[in-house]
Symmetry: C2
Subunit: 252 residues, 2 copies
């Protein structure tokens, strides 16, 4: 763990100053020229406890982030889809294992290099911070889902957020890919595989979704699904519950 820090500072000194085209700073440009690794289904990219020396971008495929309890239970903390980053918000060591769900290509960037790049670039820092905060928001949302929602609500919420990730958040039917097996969904939602199945079957019977093979679904009525998701994270936030207080204003 501390070894990684040493390596990190040593590397940093040796690395050349990095200059961006100051306009186009995106994730893509960050990883554009980085080495690409291929992974088959089931392979691990890194393990919980490994020194977190690398940051990744998923160019293609899908990963699951999981943690095994001593007695064998498995928690899935999240999924990472194409276009998203991996391994950014950890300190010395990764706190989960990243395993491949669908054959993946990953671009890789050493943390040392990333920090060197950050050095001058205000813009990059805030880009990365924004990612970290997004992850934080997602985690908090997940906490609410697991702590407060029932099985149907959890599954509905999962489907909706999958739909949202596709970008197109329309009123029209959306087709979502679910590359992970049912057991992964169950472990992600804190349910059993049977319960996930039963809920999906119910949604099918009720005409909310239609199966497109094992690994894809058409969501027929987003709004209706949203009703079953405890209505959390609707785009239009609901009114303040009680005693509408004006936001606290602090003296400058």
């Amino acid at each position: 763990m501390y070894a990684s820090h040493l390596i990190l500072s040593a590397d940093r000194a040796a690395l050349p100053r990095f200059d961006f085209p100051s306009e186009t700073l995106t994730l893509e440009s960050l990883f554009a020229n980085q080495p690409t690794d291929k992974f088959a289904t089931g392979e691990a990219v890194f393990w919980e406890g490994d020194a977190a020396s690398q940051v990744f971008q998923v160019a293609e495929g899908c990963l699951r982030l999981c943690s095994i309890l001593p007695d064998g239970r498995r928690a899935i903390i999240g999924f990472v889809f194409a276009g998203e980053m991996l391994g950014l918000s950890c300190h010395g060591t990764y706190r989960y294992t990243a395993e491949v769900v669908a054959p993946a290509r990953l671009r890789r960037l050493s943390r040392a290099r990333l920090r060197a790049m950050e050095e001058g670039t205000e813009q990059l820092q805030s880009l990365l911070m924004a990612r970290v905060f997004e992850e934080m928001t997602a985690a908090q949302q997940h906490i609410i889902v697991l702590g407060q929602l029932g099985a149907e609500e959890r599954v509905a919420h999962f489907l909706i957020s999958a739909a949202r990730r596709t970008g197109a958040d329309q009123k029209k039917p959306v087709t979502i890919e679910l590359p992970m097996p049912r057991l992964d969904i169950a472990d992600y939602l804190g349910l059993t595989i049977e319960t996930v199945c039963r809920v999906l079957s119910k949604f099918k019977r009720d005409g909310l979704v239609a199966p497109r093979g094992r690994h894809a679904l058409v969501l027929r009525q987003l709004s209706n699904l949203q009703d079953r998701a405890g209505e959390i994270d609707n785009d239009a936030p609901s009114e303040r519950p009680v005693a509408v207080r004006s936001p606290a204003v602090w003296p400058a």
Copy 2:
């Protein structure tokens, strides 16, 4: 939301460069000369959705971070105790309401000022990053607790992490303060108040804990409690489950 960004950059230009005594950079020193606000039990420090323009340090007391679902269910995302920071890891707006559980004094620091201070100070940046990552780790832990553990395990885990926060993580009996009402614990653990009570009563019967009034407990057998907590987050991490693979090593 965007207004806050504007204010932020405007302020920044006007703010003086900040110089630290380069040795002693701690949270304490950061907030040392900041204005202090007092809050009574039940008061809100800020609301979910407010522009996140301030960062706080709890000098004294205890807060709960909560989010109300449209149908009235309440999720408690976390508690903040004396010495800890509040409101750091959010972007434009706070994503939860912060309410006072035990009469509190808070030191306050504007985000604009904080960013200005960061500017030069490498050290401060990494201090803050470390805090953010700690929060992330805690959130992921919470996800595992809510998704995988049963009622007894959740309560046991809650007590143990409370004990850990006191600092002294000895083999000896530890006394912990639980300033929040039972309902808060329930909403934090995704249980009902009755279940929390029953589990606590069981722990009392079994001699694991002893009540010290409503708001304090003596933990008699940390190790025994740990057994009931699904053994997650023990100090000594268990062995790799299967197929011990050496950590991935990436070419420099």
